[in-house]
């Protein structure tokens, strides 16, 4: 492989992959035509290109099923989120109810304690 072939290999890879600008394709094709080594290289890359196409193509049949699966997951997620919100609201309500009970109990405790203190004070002041 001479230095020309060496620099050509990059462009051959580009040509076979389809990323070489059209304006640069002609000298590359010409070189492939006259250089046996680069011709074999181009042929091997072409075979690999077909393999890659086949590999990706094999997913094509499954792609719609995968898309549907993702959309189904989306629906499940939405339902779960809604029930999650309900659960959250329920837990918020429970917390508020518990807090209200605590406030009432504490209030009653102070009310009762205060009334006893008042009564005892009155007894001390007037009764004793």
């Amino acid at each position: 492989m001479n230095s020309e072939c060496d620099s050509m290999r990059d462009r051959i890879a580009d040509l076979i992959s389809g990323v070489l600008p059209e304006t640069e394709a002609e000298p590359v094709a010409e070189h492939i035509g006259k250089c046996r080594g680069c011709g074999a290289y181009a042929e091997a890359l072409q075979q690999e290109d077909l393999l890659l196409d086949g590999f990706v193509g094999s997913f094509g049949e499954e792609m719609s099923r995968r898309e549907e699966k993702a959309i189904e997951a989306l629906s499940r997620f939405e339902t779960q989120s809604r029930s999650g919100v309900r659960m959250h609201l329920r837990s918020v309500l429970t917390k508020h109810a518990a807090a209200a009970v605590v406030v009432v109990v504490v209030g009653l405790y102070f009310a009762i304690t205060f009334s006893w203190v008042t009564q005892i004070t009155a007894l001390i002041r007037y009764g004793l």
């Binding site: 690999e48 997913f59 699966k69 989306l74 939405e78």
Partner: protein
């Protein structure tokens, strides 16, 4: 609704229209899957991550400011999720070949190709996978991966050269 632009569908999805988001998913899923496959080199993981990316996109759609860039945005979400997964599983090696062995009836050549793809560096494998999944449009890949057109071409070239080397030398199990 299928003929509507991404901008219109994103706006509808932002208002909570799930069917609009489903169309966006159908439109962009193959790119998301290709990125995940390129990043992870494993079909099952790629499928899971692509699904997670789509769900995360749905949750965060309200944060998307440039609706016309939905494709790039959801691909970015997928990439970030894959990076996180790779970080979490640093010890585990990616194996595209797993798919082949599970699906059965795979030719030796295909198995070699999948093994070779699994050995490519991630920065080459991602654009290569996307390129082939996207009917060989380097321009679209450049936009989706947020790299220059010449950068994509260079990576595809390097990927093809390394792949050829791996395939011609024969992929051996480590």
């Amino acid at each position: 609704m299928n003929g509507l632009s991404d901008e219109i569908l994103v706006a509808a999805a932002q208002r909570g229209d799930k069917s609009a988001y489903s169309i966006l998913v159908k439109r962009h899923y193959r790119y998301v899957f290709a990125v995940c496959l390129g990043m992870l080199g494993n079909v099952h993981d790629a499928e899971d991550m692509a699904q997670d990316a789509v769900l995360k996109g749905f949750v965060k759609i309200g944060e998307l400011r440039r609706a016309e860039q939905f494709g790039e945005w959801v691909v970015r979400i997928a990439k970030n999720l894959c990076v996180d997964l790779v970080r979490r599983r640093k010890h585990k090696k990616p194996l595209i070949a797993e798919q082949a062995s599970e699906s059965g009836g795979t030719s030796a050549a295909k198995l070699d190709l999948e093994q070779a793809l699994g050995r490519l560096p991630r920065e080459f494998r991602v654009p290569l996978m996307m390129y082939y999944f996207d009917n060989k449009s380097a321009k679209t890949i450049a936009a989706k991966l947020n790299i220059s057109h010449s950068g994509v071409c260079q990576r595809i070239r390097s990927a093809r050269k390394q792949l050829h080397k791996l395939l011609s030398e024969g992929v051996q199990d480590e």
